[in-house]
């Protein structure tokens, strides 16, 4: 296949857009956390950029798209370190079926792995050891994200493959499932996966001290809105980029993404106005993300009209779902469950109704709905079990929580040695720590601890 310059340019742009979502998420989450722990919250996203950004090229790509092991994950040693994923035998860049170099596909997919892991951190505000989080990020990406990406997008168990779940339910036609599961850009792989992991970790790690009794209101709503804006912008790469070329399908995904998101924001605000008396900025930012999440699996298979309903339903259900943690008593601090798990389920399942080719409302019968529910439940089960094992193993070894004193005083100072805002009078350079030593090369180096 010849190189398609337009498609390649769009996929490089999309990869860059999706990468921007993780710093955007850091702002979104950081603004919602308390002033004493905003840096830790943001560092969990940035730390994920570091860990997953490295392991993706080592075994992340292999485990997602390498030779399948039973349909559940790719063999990590097939294309380990991208060996054989970049060049063909003649030393030319490999080009995929869309005319896009394989290495550009690696770039695009790596950004999905990073944001998915970072999403989980929203459940863990104020109280988790940074080192444990970094280890979790690598292990969970390896055991949950890469395998589920393989199952859904890499031709595995949750795809339309002959041995897959959908094929088991309604049989096969011409070597593929008769009713193919639809997850355009990651309703199961990204959002259900991250939402379930957040719920399991919140249960293992436990509540923040004072959860439900002490005020834990967002400390900076302008950061939250800036983060939501960057997420929306980056999501065009996420969804329209998931067309894997620059064509009408990408345009449809773009329009559906914006329409559903706009509708979800309005729906969330309406719920707030009726229930609480005010349409809030936090509600607008939250509704935006709920809509983006819900349209993610459906962006390629619903009409813009259908995406209005899909987004609005997601906005209402997510706005109601974020209150559940207080009733059920789990501290999913920044509502990863209420927004990503619920929004991901809404989007994945509603394809069974609103899908223009196979949905119930378009005369497609109930088969697509059944398949969508099946892959959603399978993703919940796989992510839940894997996260439970990892979470408990880390609890027994490294330990998850910082001490209560650190949590109360603020994790930023103790764990990162910084404060986000307080410029305390009386701060000075510790002159006794300014030491001049001769380095091996004979050049003087100065260390200053301020």
């Amino acid at each position: 296949m010849d190189l398609n310059f337009g498609a390649t340019a769009w996929m490089l742009t999309s990869a860059s857009l999706v990468l921007l979502m993780t710093p955007g998420l850091a702002l979104f989450y950081g603004g919602m956390s308390r002033a004493k722990s905003v840096l830790n919250m943001m560092m969990m996203s940035f730390g994920t950029l570091g860990v997953v950004g490295v392991i993706y090229v080592l075994w992340g790509w292999s485990m997602s798209y390498g030779a399948s092991v039973g349909g559940f994950f790719g063999n990590p040693f097939d294309q380990f370190g991208l060996d054989g994923a970049i060049y063909d035998g003649a030393g030319e860049f490999l080009i995929d079926g869309m005319g896009v170099p394989g290495i550009v596909g690696v770039a695009f997919q790596s950004t999905f792995a990073i944001i998915t892991v970072a999403l989980v951190s929203g459940a863990l505000a104020d109280r988790v050891k940074f080192g444990t989080w970094l280890v979790f990020a690598g292990v969970w990406a390896t055991l949950s994200y890469f395998p589920i990406a393989h199952m859904v997008w890499g031709g595995g168990f949750l795809s339309d493959s002959e041995g897959g779940l959908a094929a088991m339910i309604f049989g096969t036609t011409d070597g593929a499932a008769t009713v193919a599961p639809i997850d355009f850009a990651g309703g199961t792989v990204v959002h259900i996966n991250a939402g379930v992991a957040a719920l399991v970790l919140a249960l293992i790690i436990g509540k923040r001290k004072g959860f439900g009794t002490e005020p834990m209101r967002p400390h900076n709503l302008t950061l939250v809105m800036l983060g939501a804006a960057l997420l929306w912008f980056g999501w065009f790469g996420f969804n329209a980029g998931s067309a894997f070329t620059a064509d009408g399908a990408a345009g449809l995904a773009w329009v559906n993404t914006t329409t559903a998101t706009a509708a979800a924001m309005l729906a969330w605000l309406l719920v707030e106005k009726i229930r609480d008396g005010h349409a809030t900025s936090l509600g607008a930012a939250s509704g935006i993300v709920a809509g983006l999440v819900a349209i993610t699996p459906a962006a390629g298979s619903v009409s813009p009209g259908g995406s209005i309903f899909l987004g609005a339903i997601a906005g209402v259900l997510c706005a109601l779902a974020v209150g559940l943690k207080y009733k059920l008593g789990y501290d999913d601090s920044l509502d990863v469950v209420g927004v990503h798990l619920v929004g991901g389920l809404v989007g994945t399942v509603l394809i069974g109704f609103f899908g223009t080719e196979t949905g119930l409302f378009y005369g497609g019968g109930a088969q697509q709905l059944v398949v969508q529910i099946a892959i959603a439940l399978a993703a919940i089960l796989i992510s839940g079990v894997v996260t439970l094992v990892i979470g408990l193993a880390l609890e027994a070894t490294l330990g998850w929580r910082v001490s209560e004193d650190v949590e109360v005083a603020g994790i930023d100072v103790a764990v990162h040695g910084e404060t986000a805002y307080e410029a305390l009078p009386g701060t000075r350079v510790r002159s006794s720590d300014v030491s001049t030593t001769s380095a091996a090369a004979g050049r003087a180096t100065t260390e200053v601890n301020a």
């Binding site: 005020p215 209101r217 967002p218 707030e272 229930r275 008396g277 936090l282 974020v322 209150g323 509502d335």
Partner: protein, 112 residues
């Protein structure tokens, strides 16, 4: 000498400052404060979780005056700060034993 302290609505500060200048007051200290009186605070809701905000933003104005000026300065502040709504604030006066001007070292009424 007296210290007149006023805790007022932040948006009345400019009028109070102008009224004090018109009354001949040549210096004051203004600081941000928070508190509540009879109006209590207000309620905020974040993702459905309600918070009662008791302490609301106020501005504190402090003026050192000669004994004879204390009442007129108080009245000037009250008149300028008044909106008639609950939450307008309070003004009070306390006696001051001594005042020193740092630049010159003067003491007492000369330092005002």
């Amino acid at each position: 000498m007296k210290l007149v302290t006023a805790v007022i609505q932040p948006h009345r500060l400019d009028d109070v400052k102008a009224a004090l200048e018109a009354a001949g007051v040549r210096g004051m200290t203004v600081s941000e404060a928070s508190g509540y009186g009879r109006q209590r605070g207000h309620t905020e809701v974040y993702r459905g979780a309600e918070y009662q905000v008791d302490l609301i933003p106020k501005v504190r104005v402090e003026v050192l005056v000669a004994d004879v000026d204390a009442i007129s300065v108080t009245e000037a502040i009250v008149k300028a700060a008044q909106t008639g709504k609950i939450g307008d604030g309070k003004v009070w006066t306390v006696p001051v034993e001594d005042v020193a001007r740092v630049r010159t070292g003067e003491h007492g009424p000369d330092a005002l």
